[in-house]
Amino acid sequence: MPEANQELDARGLNCPLPILRTKKALKDMGSGEVLKIVATDPGAVKDFEAYASQSGDELLEHSEDNGEYTFFMKKA
């Protein structure tokens, strides 16, 4: 599992909040730093992939465990 510089708890939040909060958190981070995001919105999986493909930030890894989705996003 990648090492995260910062964590974001997006559990219980629905579209588009997980993405918006992620963007906001990444804004204050340095290039190459990794943000770990935990979400419960099942739509987040496709949305985080889409976010990465459009923003330039890199989705290093994502996994699901018991209804919780964990993402590692590396800032471009």
Partner: protein, 157 residues
């Protein structure tokens, strides 16, 4: 980085259900790096008011709206039904982690989504611009096309 993409939205509806799409799409587009503008016209101007409590949803005339129990149209016309439906919808949204309209609009402002109010409709409905949020511009159809003409996506909502 590639040249910034642009999204132009026209928001024409002033009910709670129709208020969400423009703000959700605009805030998300801005997060994805789009230069985004919303042009508010006719009932869409309601969404620019500081006080969004007038933005309501009605089951009347909307047979697709999921209801906990079927309510006949004749009952839906009774006073207070609209406010009740609105508060039920807001409660449900909160429980499901859906952002409030106020929050989504704030996120749009924060992300520098440009908001234009249709001057013609402001005059038509005798709106007081003091009731609107700060930081919006006033313009007409030509000002919409100035931005939309260079946009990658244009949506009429």
């Amino acid at each position: 980085m590639a040249e910034e993409k642009k999204l132009a939205i026209i928001a024409t509806k002033g009910t709670l259900d129709w208020a969400y799409p423009p703000f959700i799409l605009a805030s998300t587009a801005a997060a994805l790096g789009y230069d985004t503008q919303i042009f508010f016209t006719f009932y869409g101007l309601n969404l620019l008011k500081k006080d969004l409590n007038d933005v309501k949803v009605s089951p009347l005339g909307n047979p697709a709206m999921p209801m906990p129990m079927p309510i006949p149209n004749l009952v839906q016309v009774l006073p207070g039904m609209e406010s009740m439906a609105t508060s039920m919808m807001k409660k449900k949204m909160k429980a499901k982690g859906v952002a409030s309209l106020e929050d989504l609009r704030d996120l749009c402002v924060e992300a520098e989504v440009s908001m234009i109010a249709c001057q013609m409709t402001v005059d038509l409905f005798d709106y007081d611009t003091k009731d609107f949020v700060d930081g919006i511009d006033y313009g007409g159809a030509a000002s919409f096309f100035e931005f939309a003409g260079e946009s990658d996506i244009s949506l009429f909502i």
